[in-house]
Symmetry: C2
DNA sequence: AGATATTTGTTCGTATGTATT
DNA sequence: TAATACATACGAACAAATATC
């Protein structure tokens, strides 16, 4: 049964769309939910292929564009990726951290967030994540941290380089959090770091070089690496706490209230635009 | 210029779609991004109306279903709501916390999360959020908290009621977090609470009554209310910390590793299904 | 490398549902 | 109630991408 019985030009006559009931819910959403249920029910892992457009059309007796909308919805939610060509179609996908952050930033867009808010959290979470990372980091990880420090181990030539150094400082913490095995903690930390990278207000702050602070930051980070290598959890915690307090004081001395700016999942660090729709 | 010059049945001949460049990006995504940019550029607040389908079609020289897909994408992201009828169309919307959590849970679905992970965070964040809430809560807030406690101020008749009591205990913390003016902190706490409500493993745990723990929990919460009313921040912090430690011990004694289950934004507390696509 | 087949991507006329006036 | 304005849905035709031979 081909939805419309291949009714040529006449069209309207035998419309025949049962459409169970039009109880508020719209067709594409119903289909999207049905597909989701299918994914969980069959325990489809990332990589599994879903039925293709054609088949979904008949399966749900829906039109092409309706099915497409449903698929689009799933794509935006980061649950599937759609490919063209032979053997193409929708494949189940694991949502990227990047997309999760973009989506979340859309929510925060309407909220008011201050730098103080962010640091109130970082003061608690960064020490925790550092201790957690300590238990998993390896030589390669330490090398990555060392390489990052090298980026800001000298005076910046201009505001541009100063900004890049601040980004690298945040990358340092990004890498640390990456080694934590607490996925929630890691995500929260990295999200806060991402916010600091993208917030419009911070952008201006980062252009100013603060030699004293930068020196102190590097000192803290080197001590941190040593403490992590030594497996000294209390020391890791206290160093990171002090590091955060210092960073907070610096940031607070500049700006207080800011409006959340959007993160864009595609661009590098553009301070404004809403979080991404589709990967790449 | 009407997209296709109202070319009747001939159709294909003068296709004339410039399509700037087909560099990987697909049309609906381009349009969605363009609309997003429009929203930020013009600073459209929630409630503002976007151009309607017809106009967007001409504006982007795109077909109906293409525009529709773009709009669908924005809808899933919680940025607009679409209404039918005269004066209908897409209106800018503030993303709901509920949807933000659903979307985020889709990401966590593929990660491994343990109860210990959740409580490691709660131990830090709940005391913080309680202190933060203390500064904003009013008489009405205290009344809400008291009413919630009443739900579990007695022995449950069965596993069903025991479960409802556990939900109410989490609601207590939900309300506390609601009064914090740190939107990030509040969101993180409430998200953790939501996870505890929806995780499949927890579902089983909640069916067992633990009279001793419940009594102790109530005692803590009553002390907490008193400390908040008195504006005693250190006391609020220490009570909540102890409360969390106790709760963690209880939960850990039951289960360790769990797979993240999805949150569903529509249903009440169903332990499995992927987070919602569209509101309501 | 080029041709071909497969499958998604996009358009557009038509028809219908739904909310406003 | 009717008219109107708008979204919602269908599906055939065509375009573009991509895998396979």
């Amino acid at each position: 049964m081909q939805t419309g019985d291949a009714n040529p030009a006449t069209g309207p006559s035998a419309q025949g769309r049962p459409r169970s009931l039009s109880k508020g819910r719209k067709r594409p959403d119903e289909i999207a939910e049905a597909i989701k249920r299918m994914i969980v029910a069959e325990g489809l892992a990332p990589g599994s292929r879903l039925p293709q457009e054609r088949e979904l059309m008949t399966q749900f007796s829906a039109g092409k564009s309706t099915v497409r909308e449903a698929l689009k919805s799933l794509e935006v939610q980061g649950l599937v990726r759609i490919r063209t060509g032979p053997g193409g179609g929708a494949v189940v996908e694991a949502m990227s951290e990047r997309r999760a952050m973009s989506l979340l930033s859309n929510y925060l867009f309407t909220q008011t967030i201050s730098i103080a808010d962010i640091y109130a959290l970082r003061k608690q979470l960064e020490p925790m994540v550092a201790v957690s990372a300590m238990r998993n980091i390896d030589a390669a990880g330490f090398k990555r941290l060392g390489d990052i420090i090298a980026v800001y181990d000298h005076d910046p030539r201009d505001g541009e380089e100063s900004w890049r150094q601040r980004m690298a400082e945040l990358d340092f913490h990004m890498v640390v959090a990456e080694y934590s095995d607490n996925a929630l903690l890691s995500f929260f930390c990295r999200f806060l770091q991402r916010l600091l990278k993208d917030l419009a207000i911070c952008h201006d702050i980062y252009k100013l070089d603060q030699p004293v602070l930068r020196q102190s930051g590097i000192a803290h980070q080197r001590e941190l690496i040593a403490a992590m290598a030594a497996g000294d959890a209390p020391r890791v915690r206290s160093i990171m706490t002090e590091h955060m307090i210092e960073a907070e004081m610096h940031m607070l001395s500049l700006e207080a209230q800011i409006e959340t700016r959007f993160l864009n999942e595609d661009d590098a660090y553009p301070p404004q635009s809403i979080g991404g729709g589709t990967e790449r």
